[in-house]
């Protein structure tokens, strides 16, 4: 199963919406995801893929809104690289990078 499918199913489950509604372009904001929802989604992704996604609640609030200030998560502990976190595809991309980094570190 591709990572994007897992991401879709985790987001769908967390927000209690049918998974068919989620495309890579779907924005978390339009799904009504609030700060705590995002934190629960990130938690579920971390558990599923055994990765750590360093995202503060402050950022989660800002990042789910489309490009309004900030607009980027810092998937590296020291913010080496900034990635957006507003669509389902963005989330999948962050997870893919972290999963790849984990595999490379082995």
């Amino acid at each position: 199963m591709a990572i994007i499918d897992d991401v879709r199913s985790i987001i769908a489950q967390s927000l209690k919406i049918p998974v068919e509604k989620l495309t890579p372009e779907t924005r978390l904001e339009e799904l009504g995801a609030e700060s705590l929802d995002v934190i629960e989604i990130v938690f579920a992704l971390e558990e599923k893929f055994d990765i750590a996604i360093p995202l503060r609640a402050d950022e989660a609030t800002r990042l789910t809104k489309t490009n309004d200030g900030g607009g980027a998560a810092k998937p590296g502990q020291s913010g080496d690289q900034e990635l957006p976190f507003s669509t389902v595809g963005d989330v999948a991309e962050i997870v893919e990078k972290l999963v790849a980094a984990k595999a490379a570190a082995r």
Binding site: E34, S35, L36, I39, V42, F43, L55, R56, A57, D58, A60, T61, R62
Partner: protein, 402 residues
């Protein structure tokens, strides 16, 4: 209705465990935030907290007694003793029978709970220590204060997360004001810097990786703290009759619930509590000079609190000095409201406004006077101390110069 004054202040805090040291650290913006040393850090991502490092329980308790007190009760009892001493209060039989003891804490003996459950689940221990329950129960601190000082009147614990201390003092204030108790020992205490609690806060993703910068554009979240502050409240008449020192007068108390989000501040709810406190105090917004803010250093709180202050104070907000002591104290949860009330009362007493430390850059969404980094000599007639808790529970006290 009685007029109610604060005649004794006792503190155990990351910036000092005497009233004098607490106050000098506060106005000199000396931070109590530093590397975590009181618990093992291997499993923590968070590296910093505001810990009480100069506290040795053996200095205060007999070895046998010490085993009965969780750290949060130790803080509470030591602060309560200091408050009574500060108030120069002789606890006569008559006072003992009537005095109220009302203490705020958001949890209970978390060190006890963490240790005990670690032994049980982590080390497959067979039996917890027999004092586990009396140590960890939420009312342990207030019960142990009443036992230590022999106070036998109305005694209970108030729990409303980060507003616990303020709700507790507000309750005690009402009791002295209405004559239910002539004297009250009240405040807040919290000691929950355990591995389990810190991990749980990490999961909420609101902790700052570096430090606490309330109202600054560069703020990056809150920093957990611990500590206690206790007060002696009594009627103004009683205080004057016995020649007691008076730090400040309690004028009003306001409460509200947001009935909205479980974690995010609701400016309307916060503003309603502020207005209720001002109405109760019969003080006009324009007559308040200083607000000791909740100011946690998270993006949402500080922005929402600014909106709430503007709602409650209107045009008067432009002339208001607002500062957050959490920049140096961290967030001691259930104790925070009480510790910050100590800061507010001492500001009135000394006529000095403590600064918001670690202030780096103004945020267009936080557009008030936050007294950045440097204390200010200014006449303070009335002041406000605010607490807004998770669960949307708000408590605000208004104080006047004695």
């Amino acid at each position: 209705m009685n007029r109610v004054v604060i005649t004794g202040i006792g503190v155990v805090t990351p910036i000092g465990s005497t009233r004098e040291k607490f106050w000098s650290s506060l106005i000199e913006a000396r931070s109590g935030i530093g590397p975590i040393t009181i618990v093992p850090t291997e499993r923590l991502n968070t590296r910093i907290a505001a810990q009480v490092l100069d506290f040795n329980p053996a200095d205060h308790f007999e070895p046998k007694r010490q085993g009965l007190l969780d750290r949060f009760s130790q803080f509470a009892v030591v602060a309560a003793r200091a408050a009574v001493q500060d108030a120069q209060l002789q606890i006569t039989d008559e006072i003992a029978l009537q005095a109220a003891t009302i203490v705020g804490n958001s949890t209970g003996g978390m060190n006890t709970l963490d240790d005990s459950f670690y032994r049980l689940y982590g080390e497959n221990g067979i039996r917890p220590h027999p004092l586990t329950i009396p140590r960890l129960m939420s009312n342990a601190a207030c019960s142990l204060i009443s036992m230590d000082l022999g106070l036998k009147g109305p005694t209970f614990t108030v729990a409303s997360a980060c507003a616990s201390g303020t709700h507790a003092v507000g309750q005690a204030f009402q009791m002295v004001r209405t004559g239910l108790a002539p004297i009250a020992l009240t405040g807040g205490s919290e000691a929950c810097l355990t591995v389990g609690t810190i991990k749980a806060w990490e999961a909420l993703r609101v902790l700052s990786p570096d430090t606490c910068r309330p109202f600054s554009k560069t703020r990056s979240g809150l920093v957990l703290g611990e500590g206690a502050a206790m007060f002696v409240l009594e009627t103004r008449e009683h205080a004057i009759a016995r020649g007691a020192p008076i730090y400040a007068e309690l004028l009003g108390f306001g409460m509200s619930a947001d009935a909205a989000d479980i974690t995010a501040i609701d400016p309307d709810g916060a503003a309603r509590a502020m207005r209720a406190a001002l109405t109760d105090a019969k003080v006009n917004p324009a007559d308040v000079d200083y607000v000791n803010a909740h100011g946690t250093g998270t993006l949402l709180n500080d922005k929402g609190e600014t909106v709430a202050l503007r709602q409650a104070f209107g045009d008067a907000a432009d002339h208001l000095a607002v500062s957050s002591s959490k920049a140096v104290l961290g967030h001691s949860l259930g104790a925070a409201g009480a510790v910050e009330l100590a800061a507010t009362a001492l500001a009135l007493h000394n006529q000095i406004i403590p600064p918001t430390a670690n202030f780096e850059e103004a945020d267009p969404e936080c557009d008030l006077d936050y007294v950045p980094n440097t204390a200010r000599n200014a006449p303070i007639k009335n002041a406000m101390s605010s607490s807004f808790a998770f669960g949307g529970l708000n408590a605000v006290l208004v104080l006047g110069r004695a």
